[in-house]
Amino acid sequence: MNKPPGTFGPFIRLLRPHRYWMVLGIALSFLAGAAGIGLLGLAGWFISASALAGLTPLTAHLFNLFHPSVGIRIFAITRTAARYAERIVNHDITFRILESLRIWFYLRLEPLAPARLAAYRSGDILSRIIADIDALDNLYIRVLTPCMVALAVTMLVPGVFWSYHQGVAITLFAGMVLVGFALPLAADRAGTRSGESLARHSARLRIHTVEGLQGLAELLVFNAADQHQSKIARDHNALLRAQGTMSRISGAASAGMTLLSGATVGVVLYLGASGVEKAQLDGAILAMMVFAALAAFDVLWSLPAAFQYLSRTREASRRLTEIVSQSPPVTFPTESVPPKHYGLTFENITFRYDREEPDVIKDFNLRVGPGERVALMGATGAGKSTLFHLLVRFWDPVAGRIRIGGQDIRILSEADLRRAMAVVSQQSHLFNGTLRSNLQLACPEAGDHQLWSALQAARLDRFVSALPEQLDTWIGEAGQRLSGGEARRLAVAQAVLRDAPIWLLDEPTEGLDSTNERALMVTLLALTRKRTMLLITHRPVALEQLDRIAILEQGRIVEEGHHQDLLKANGRYPQLGMFGG
């Protein structure tokens, strides 16, 4: 048990810095357990010996009352104190482990995002990662400590008994190994399969519940709600059946443990009684053995939970290792010379997200001069957002080269590359924090004055000044307290704070109604004057103010030119946007 399976390797290494604390924590837990066993063993010996001594007045008078009663008191106090100290130390260690684990995981994950994490993007899978890390946080306190303590007690108590009666010692050792290790492990093994079906059934219940809620309008209008409810009831019953199996296994395990520990005490008693009969064993020692054995089995009762936890933890560490062992998709040089100017060139870019998938972009060429503003249009899936992903180097192209100011972006350091660009995208994440902390992400050293002027530029200042807590307003998980338009404007304010020479705008007005859409576009056009700008859009708003419009189809540019020229040419452009009104 002290040697966890290979998958724990990286995590065990994380525990190294805490090893002295861990030794202390385990030693204290052991001390508390051992003192409890000592207390009962000594008490049993003491009253038996004194009962024998008390049979005649002389022996009673000679009996040393002092030492045992002091010993009993010491054990009693040690048990209490060690238990309290053990709790404090072990919880403190758990939190320290949590800290190292989070940092370790974060540092491993950071270079992988977002390319290698694309498969894990959905909230559900991220939540599972979090749950897996939580499971590892508890590896020490729930698995390691109880196992080590149980192991030590299993060695200690029969070891002490060995000098008195070897048969009893062997019996107790065998009993403790069976009750503490063999039986819980067998139960855990038996539970693995139903554990899998448990996970499957609860996932199915969850999926059907979520889609039932998302599609409730569909279900009601098409009168299929009853049908869906009975589907959920079926999932629920299947889940209960799987849990029933688990419960039968754990019931059987606890019955087995009761049976085996009882039987062991019975055999100890039987062997001891015959030892007493043959005068090989002092009767008081027999009492001590029985009491100590009863107390020792109490220490083992926490093991089934530990083993159950171990399988969960093993599964968690396997999944986490799988994620962090991926190689980073892009690497940056540590230093670079900033670009001479901020024109962009895409040269024969070809890209696909996965080797097996078709090309998203093929032989793509585009030149955006310094200070030029260009719109990219085209059907969904034409590869527009992918171009941005390549520009910020979330991915690298399969073939071709992207240049900023004539320099290949792959020789720019991450700092120089990030400094060059401000991005307003649909996926821009708002953090659970205040407006101020979200704004300062873009520019940590910005003071209030600077924040307000950024808000003003994004036309969000009036909204924020009307809030009772202004910049200190808590915007909640993923910016829930903001409307879509406000969130988008906040992203614009962040971009303003970046004060970057290149602006990348990915459908900045999507989801806004037409009034807000126009207002935001006007703001953005004013802000990007004299800067290099790429705008992805499929909304026909204010495009005549841009220098050029490029239309993408299947990863290539099929039309390019100024708004008026494209309209006159009457090719794809007039059909793309719904130029209504």
């Binding site: 409890g36 009253i47 038996s48 004194s50 024998l52 001594a53 009693a76 048990r79 209490t80 309290y84 709790r87 404090i88 919880h91 939190f95 800290e99 540092l107 950071e110 990662i129 749950a131 609860s202 969850r206 999926i207 519940t209 979520v210 889609e211 809620l213 998302q214 599609g215 309008a217 279900l219 009601l220 209008v221 299929a224 709600a225 049908q227 629920h236 419960s247 019931g251 049976l259 039987a263 019975g266 001891g272 015959s274 007493v276 009969e277 027999l286 009492a287 029985v290 009491f291 109490d298 085209g378 969904t380 899936g381 990030r418 873009a442 204010a542 946007g577 130029f579 209504g580 009104g581």
Partner: protein, 569 residues
């Protein structure tokens, strides 16, 4: 409760087992009884152990059953209530969060009913029965235990509070930490863009350090309460042992009823002393189940208390003659008593077979108006008439049979394309499904898939694009073949190719039906018979598209915002 009864019986067996062990040691040691005479007692001992093992098994089963019954009832109630509350309620909640109440929070109830409640009964019953057998043997030993007995309820409160604050604080700290970390992971691309992703590692460290320090401060105090219980139990065992030892040696002769105690009696008492406190300690370990269940119950009750404002089932016969006309008669609606009216005295008529477009700025109440028609809400004033018959008294299922609806974001369910198309008509024949799929241009992409209409959709299968999903939703509406068609921005967010396909499918679908469409896409407006413009809670203007544009009223301003204008074709 069965589980408590079984646990109690098991406790009584434990007392019998203690008596047997005590007797055996006493007999072998003091009375030097030959082992052969003790054999029957060993047999009895094994029987008791088997009995306790059986009880342990039965207790787990009984607890499981109890937890299962509660969960079944609560979960199915929740699902039924959410369905009854309808999209009007669920639309404004995150479906993931609601689902976690239905799935995880209901699971959290289990341990409370399966483990905590039975243990609560035992924590009272077992100590009392131990007292009941110890007192007749020695009142002093009984008194030592009993001194702490009145403290048991107090202990329960202390342990309760202690355990509650421990598990709550620890749980809170951990879940806050996890929520923070989840937030960071989700925002990792954003952090990268802002060049903050490396620096964030320090913040992760700092945040977890603060959590540790703050939580440990609380835990140091909280652990004291369980230390008190530990202390009392250790001290009582020590006191009982010292009392018995000195009694045997003849230093103390009180505490019994006349004759001195035998060793057997002493051992019996000593074995039972730790068991006196054990159920209480176990209760502490189950306490987090109580805290979790309390939190879960609150979340669950909040849902179950949601008032239901949907159209309900009714026995009233439907009097709907096709085709179907609709009349809004001074309809007023507000989300709740305090909220301002979203719609106020709205009156209009849609004649049978007419195609009407509802226009208006975001938030003007267009979607709410459709919700009212679908019976997801009920008007707070006025009435909706269907062919002159009040909708409020119709049966919800029969009324919804008369309509098909295609929303902005169609939801596809796990299953095949075919399953999704026949959502409303599971009994539909192959020919009808194919016809609907063809009319809605689903076949265009389904035919390119190896499995055709049997291709799986949803997470297990490939994801359809928005446009494809919208066409599947249209196929549903084709198959439903209902006289009333409600469309809520069916082309929003589609690229031009898909938009053209969807628009032409909608035109085909509209033939011979009454259609109400919410849109701000002008391509959709041209084909409408009439446009209703919603503004300020009422109908601002109505008429045919060209006339309204020419009048330069509300519709004109809706389309021609100030600021830079879109170009006209």
């Amino acid at each position: 409760m069965l589980a408590v009864g079984l646990g109690f019986a098991s406790g009584l067996l434990l007392i019998a087992q203690a008596a047997l062990i005590a007797h055996l040691i006493h007999a072998a040691f003091i009375e030097t009884t030959p082992r052969s005479e003790l054999t029957p007692y060993f047999g009895l001992f094994i029987l008791i152990v088997v009995g306790r093992a059986g009880m342990a098994w039965a207790r787990e089963m009984a607890g499981f059953q109890a937890g299962t019954r509660v969960r079944t009832e609560v979960r199915l109630d929740l699902v039924a209530h959410l369905t009854a509350a309808g999209p009007a309620f669920t639309r404004h909640k995150q479906s993931g969060a609601l689902a976690s109440i239905v799935v995880e929070q209901v699971e959290a109830l289990h341990n409370f009913f399966a483990h905590y409640l039975p243990q609560l009964g035992l924590a009272v019953l077992v100590p009392l029965s131990i007292l009941a057998v110890v007192f007749p043997v020695s009142w002093t030993a009984g008194a030592i235990l009993a001194l702490t007995a009145p403290l048991i309820p107090l202990f329960m409160v202390i342990v309760g509070m202690g355990a509650e604050s421990i598990s709550q604080r620890q749980f809170q700290a951990l879940s806050r930490m996890s929520a923070y970390f989840l937030d960071v992971l989700q925002g990792l691309p954003t952090l990268k863009i802002f060049q903050r992703s490396k620096a964030e590692a320090d913040r992760v460290a700092e945040t977890s350090r603060t959590y540790r320090q703050r939580t440990m401060q609380v835990l140091r105090v909280a652990f004291l309460s369980s230390a008190v219980l530990e202390f009392f139990s250790s001290v009582s065992i020590a006191l009982v042992a010292v009392y018995l030892g000195t009694h045997f040696l003849g230093y103390i002769d009180f505490g019994t009823y006349g004759s001195p105690l035998t060793l057997g009696a002493g051992l019996f008492i000593l074995i039972l002393s730790p068991d006196f406190y054990l159920p209480l300690r176990d209760l502490g370990t189950h306490y987090h189940a109580r805290a979790e269940a309390a939190g879960a119950a609150e979340a669950i009750m909040q849902i179950l208390r949601t008032p239901i404002s949907q159209l309900q089932p009714s026995d009233a016969p439907v009097r709907i003659i096709q085709p179907l006309g609709i009349q809004f008669d001074r309809v007023t609606f507000a989300f709740n008593g305090d909220a301002p009216n979203l719609l106020e005295n709205v009156s209009f008529t849609v004649r049978a077979g007419e195609k009407v477009v509802l226009a208006g700025a975001s938030g003007a109440g267009k979607t709410t108006l459709l919700d009212l028609l679908m019976g997801f809400h009920q008007p707070t004033g006025g009435k909706i008439l269907v062919n002159g018959f009040p909708m409020a008294s119709m049966d919800c299922a029969q009324w919804r049979d008369q309509m098909a609806w295609v929303g902005q974001q169609p939801v596809l369910f796990h299953g095949s394309l075919r399953d999704n198309i026949r959502l409303g008509r599971p009994e539909a024949g192959e020919a009808a499904i194919i016809a609907a799929a063809r009319a809605a241009k689903v076949l265009e992409f389904a035919d390119r898939m190896p499995a055709g209409l049997d291709a799986p959709v949803g997470e297990q299968g490939r994801r359809l694009s928005r446009g494809q999903a919208q066409r599947v939703a249209l196929a549903r509406a084709f198959l439903a073949d209902a006289p009333l068609l409600l469309l809520d921005e069916p082309t929003a967010g589609l690229d031009s190719v898909n938009e053209r396909l969807v628009v032409s499918a909608i035109e085909a679908l509209s033939r011979g039906r009454t259609v109400i469409m919410v849109t701000h896409r002008m391509t959709n407006v041209h084909s409408a018979d009439r446009v209703l413009v919603l503004a300020d809670g009422g109908i601002a203007e109505e008429g045919c598209f060209q006339d309204l544009l020419a009048a330069r009223g509300a519709l004109y301003h809706l389309l021609h915002q100030p600021a830079t204008g879109g170009a006209a074709p």
